[in-house]
């Protein structure tokens, strides 16, 4: 089993990172949308944000690792069947995901730490506040966090639609490449 990426496909590390983060990020989005409207007397009023913040910071750590991994590794070459606009669109989407995730992570952190309080990372460590740039920090960061998250959700839908298109209409190995490391001969299919 290949650990690193090759020109043909993704290695196991990239594949696991992709799916682990996909699950966590979808979960965070759903939890985030759900928790902001909770009643004060809801059982989840305190627990939901706690999980959201802890998992969110975990995703940020995974993101940093993923960026290092992605940029110090081969990027699988586009399939020959891809049209040039598809390659461009995929690249834009791909980078947008990274940038949005950075923005969402950082803005989320800035909401909770706006007044200097630390964020609990599970029951493990307190992540301290670093910056306090304005009296409106929590409000500005909150807006950014929300808007960026919805933009990312839209990109996510686009991403899923594109996957289906490649798998069921184009019948290429785009989806297969992110499900398991491919052997060189499979690439010609």
């Amino acid at each position: 089993m290949k650990i690193t990426n090759s020109k043909q496909g993704y290695g196991i590390v990239s594949i696991l990172l992709h799916w682990l983060m996909a699950i966590l990020i979808v979960g965070l989005f759903v939890l985030g949308v759900y928790m902001v409207d909770l009643d004060y007397y809801s059982k989840w009023y305190n627990a939901a944000p706690w999980w959201h913040k802890s998992v969110g910071m975990m995703v940020f750590a995974l993101l940093v690792f993923r960026l290092i991994w992605a940029f110090s590794n081969h990027h699988p070459v586009p399939l020959e069947s891809y049209k040039s606009w598809e390659i461009k669109a995929a690249k834009v989407t791909h980078y947008s995901f990274y940038i949005l995730l950075l923005i969402i992570s950082i803005s989320g952190y800035l909401i909770s730490t706006a007044k200097g309080a630390a964020i609990e990372l599970f029951n493990w460590v307190d992540v301290p506040a670093i910056v306090s740039f304005s009296k409106q920090q929590a409000d500005i960061a909150g807006e950014v966090h929300e808007v960026a998250a919805y933009v990312m959700a839209f990109l996510f839908l686009l991403h899923v639609c594109a996957t289906f298109k490649h798998h069921f209409f184009d019948k290429d190995i785009t989806l297969i490449r992110i499900l398991k490391p491919v052997k060189p001969k499979e690439i010609s299919k």
């Binding site: 009643d39 004060y40 007397y41 944000p49 909401i111 909770s112 730490t113 706006a114 007044k115 309080a117 009296k135 409106q136 920090q137 929590a138 409000d139 909150g142």
Partner: protein, 189 residues
């Protein structure tokens, strides 16, 4: 001679009311605070304050009942020492500070007893809703300060119902009202 006395008396009354001293709340030196407290779940008092406000009043110790006060609170400055809660409090469910950046109190009458306690009536505006309230005041003291000025200070408290000002978020049966505490020191103009 009698007429002369009456005229003199009338004149002195007029001049005292005209001569009532004008004071500015000492915001520069922050010898003033506007705090609130509300019951949390029925188990404890949660305290918060407004960090930014302004006000002026007139006061004449020979005729305290002619005193008038005017206070403006910057609602964005609400501070309960918790970034996430303060963000909620600034939001639409509570103070809605984007739409209602100011809260005001304008006095209409004041009656002070010999012991220095008094009742200050006036209109309190919060979230764009104006209601008459009574602030229970006590006079603390007055005199020269060490820097060439003259100061007088009061303390006042009142209780308001959240629903009266359109704050309908359910915080529990014990938390439908809150107490406001005003502590002000005025510097004579």
């Amino acid at each position: 001679m009698r007429i002369f006395k009456i005229v003199l008396l009338a004149l002195s009354l007029v001049t005292t009311s005209v001569m009532a001293d004008e004071y500015v709340i000492d915001k520069k030196g922050m010898h003033a605070s506007i705090q609130f407290r509300i019951i949390h779940l029925g188990y404890s008092w949660l305290w918060g304050r407004f960090n930014d406000f302004d006000g002026e009043f007139t006061y004449d110790k020979n005729n305290p009942n002619a005193s008038k006060i005017d206070v403006t609170i910057n609602t964005k400055s609400i501070d309960s020492n918790h970034a996430e809660r303060d963000k909620h409090l600034r939001g639409e469910e509570f103070l809605d500070v984007e739409q209602f950046p100011k809260s005001t109190f304008v006095s209409s009458s004041f009656t002070m007893k010999a012991d220095g306690s008094g009742e200050l009536k006036g209109d309190f505006t919060l979230r764009g809703i104006t209601k008459p309230i009574t602030i229970y005041v006590s006079y603390i003291g007055e005199g020269d300060d060490p820097w060439g000025g003259y100061r007088v200070g009061f303390e006042g408290t009142t209780r308001i119902a959240l629903a009266d000002y359109g704050i309908l978020k359910d915080l529990g049966p014990a938390s439908k009202e809150l107490d406001l505490f005003l502590s002000i020191e005025g510097v004579r103009k």
